[in-house]
């Protein structure tokens, strides 16, 4: 199995009273081992929803999701939790550190749920924090750290369990451009060195250019799926132009009902 994740006809429908919101509307996507995929798309196009489903935080309404060869779409909550702790890592836009725990404790946390003994947890958490350049900040609380430092703690936390698939939802969205570049560089380095598959949501074409492949969503569908310019692909099209009837796209988006209005 060379694909870490495969999505087929994946749908996520939210019931809003009598209205149905098709947040994901038949997603087709495959991500190969070690690949770095950037997901772009307008606000409300379903990027976060897709990432939540990929991250087993949310269940799809229908469709197939194969993760590392497992039919994740048919799993119960208990199995999904097991998948999250053994195979997945997360980096969030708002860092999502436990704000009353130290850097070290935050990085230890995923290993707690893996049942790793404390001594080993601390050893590995230290090493991970050293890798992200925070060896001097082990006992700091998140509030005592800058935004960039907090996100680096989150990176250490995400990588410390050596996940199969790392999911990042706008990881630099809350950072200024310089810190953003530093964090991004660290993130891609860790991904490359660990040969970890990564799916990252971003609005920024310059950031998407770091990826191997660019996927663009529109109204819950994949409307663009090409190698990034750095990997010999074409220029990334402007998001605004994607999905409009004038633009030749793999899927005719015009057949979909407009959801933003709902």
């Amino acid at each position: 199995m060379t694909n870490v994740a495969e999505l087929h006809e994946l749908r996520k429908i939210y019931q809003m009273g009598t209205n149905e919101v098709h947040a994901l509307n038949g997603i087709e996507l495959s991500v190969a081992t070690g690949e770095f995929v950037a997901i772009m798309g307008a606000s409300g196009s379903g990027k976060s929803t897709l990432l939540n489903v990929l991250g087993c935080l949310d269940k799809p309404t229908s469709g197939v999701y194969l993760l590392d060869g497992h039919r994740v779409d048919q799993m119960d909550d208990e199995q999904l939790a097991a998948i999250r702790r053994t195979r997945l890592g997360f980096v969030f836009q708002s860092f999502n550190l436990l704000h009353r725990s130290t850097s070290l404790e935050n990085v230890e946390l995923p290993m707690v749920y893996l049942g790793i003994p404390r001594r080993e947890r601390i050893r590995r958490a230290r090493a991970a924090l050293e890798t992200v350049g925070l060896a001097q900040r082990l006992d700091h609380m998140p509030t005592q750290l800058s935004g960039g430092q907090q996100q680096r703690v989150a990176l250490a936390r995400a990588f410390v369990t050596e996940p199969k698939l790392l999911l990042a939802d706008e990881p630099t969205g809350n950072l200024d451009s310089r810190t953003s570049a530093e964090v991004l560089e660290l993130l891609t380095r860790l991904q490359r060195e660990g040969n970890i598959t990564m799916i990252m949501v971003t609005h920024d074409p310059d950031i998407a250019a770091f990826a191997h492949r660019v996927v663009i969503l529109h109204d819950g569908q994949v409307v663009y799926n090409r190698p990034s310019p750095s990997c010999g692909g074409p220029e990334i099209p402007h998001i605004k132009t994607i999905g409009l009837p004038a633009e030749p796209a793999p899927v005719p988006a015009a057949t979909q009902a407009p959801q933003e209005a709902a």
């Binding site: 935080l57 999502n96 749920y113 404390r118 947890r121």
Partner: protein
Amino acid sequence: MEWAIWLESIRIAMREMRRHPTRSSLTMLGVIFGVAALIAVVSISQGASQQIQGQIANLGSNMILILPESSSQGGLRSGAGTSNNLTAQDGEAIERECSAVTAAATATRIITTVVSEMANWSTEVVAVTPTYLDVRSWPVENGRAIERKDVDSGAKVCVLGQTAAEKLFGRMDPVGEQIRIKGTPFTIIGLLSIKGQSPTSVDLDDTIIVPLTTGIRYLCGPDRPKAIVVTAAGEKAIAPAMGQITSLLRQRHQIHEGDIDDFTVKSLEEAARTAEDTTNVMTTLLVSVAAISLLVGGIGIMNIMLVTVMERTREIGIRMALGASRQMILSQFMIEAVTLAGVGGILGVAVGFAGSHILSYISGWPAIFSPALLILPLVFAITIGVVFGLLPARRASRLSPVESLRHE
């Protein structure tokens, strides 16, 4: 679930408690008070009940007491001195004719001043027939008891209780010494063993025993009311003995069918049972109050845990994203609730232990602690934690990861 997760949950629980010291201690207060009250109530009432039972048993086992009925009804009865209607002959008849009775003794008592070579002492002097000390199960420690020959001959001899002996002779062995009771010299032939206190806190050892005949002749005269004490042939014989005594005495006193007795027959077991019932009612009442307080403590824990779950929704989402299953979240919050209840319980045991001693000191009742009394309330407290922690913990475990992560 893995050991590491349990340890971690306990660590988190402890940390949460340290983080909110005021909140935690206020929450625990109900449990502390409940457990402490439970321990204090049970230990003191056990002590009181044991003391009363012990004192009653101490008066004599399987003992029946017959007292003259002093209030006669409007002079309907003939005969002089209605309060002097029990005689030594009645006692002998009871012992002879009632099959359920093993021994009966007749006694009368006066309070008077007694003089030794060393001291004066005002005490109780009991004039008795020879079986009296057997009925009271009261052996002599030194010398000998009053015997039949002393009663028959009206010998001027006496047996001292420990308190009376000490007051009259200090530490000296009184046996063989002389005392004067109402001017009459008596030779001390025996010293009784220690009896202790009666249920009404009377010092039973402050007494002097003399032969009934001698007492009547020199101390109180023949008209003094007398009581008869009886030993039944066993616990089961008490009720039949009381029946036999009543009909025998009615016959001897020529009481007609339908007229009321001129005496009262009481068993000490009855008194013991009444005392026991009274303490039981009190204990049940107080234990209920303590239990309700524990329950209220549990509701307090539930309330705080619900608030905690609300406040920490985001944290729960993060934990779930990092791989915590619903079961693990449930355990974490259960452990937090149980830790609150458990720590409250331990503090409650300490407070209850100390409080019982203080109460015991004030009331004079002993506080009795069994291991169960210290462990059971703790078990109750922890059970309360489990029961009232369940709802908040379930609520936490059922949160949706996505929504929790979005929670502010």
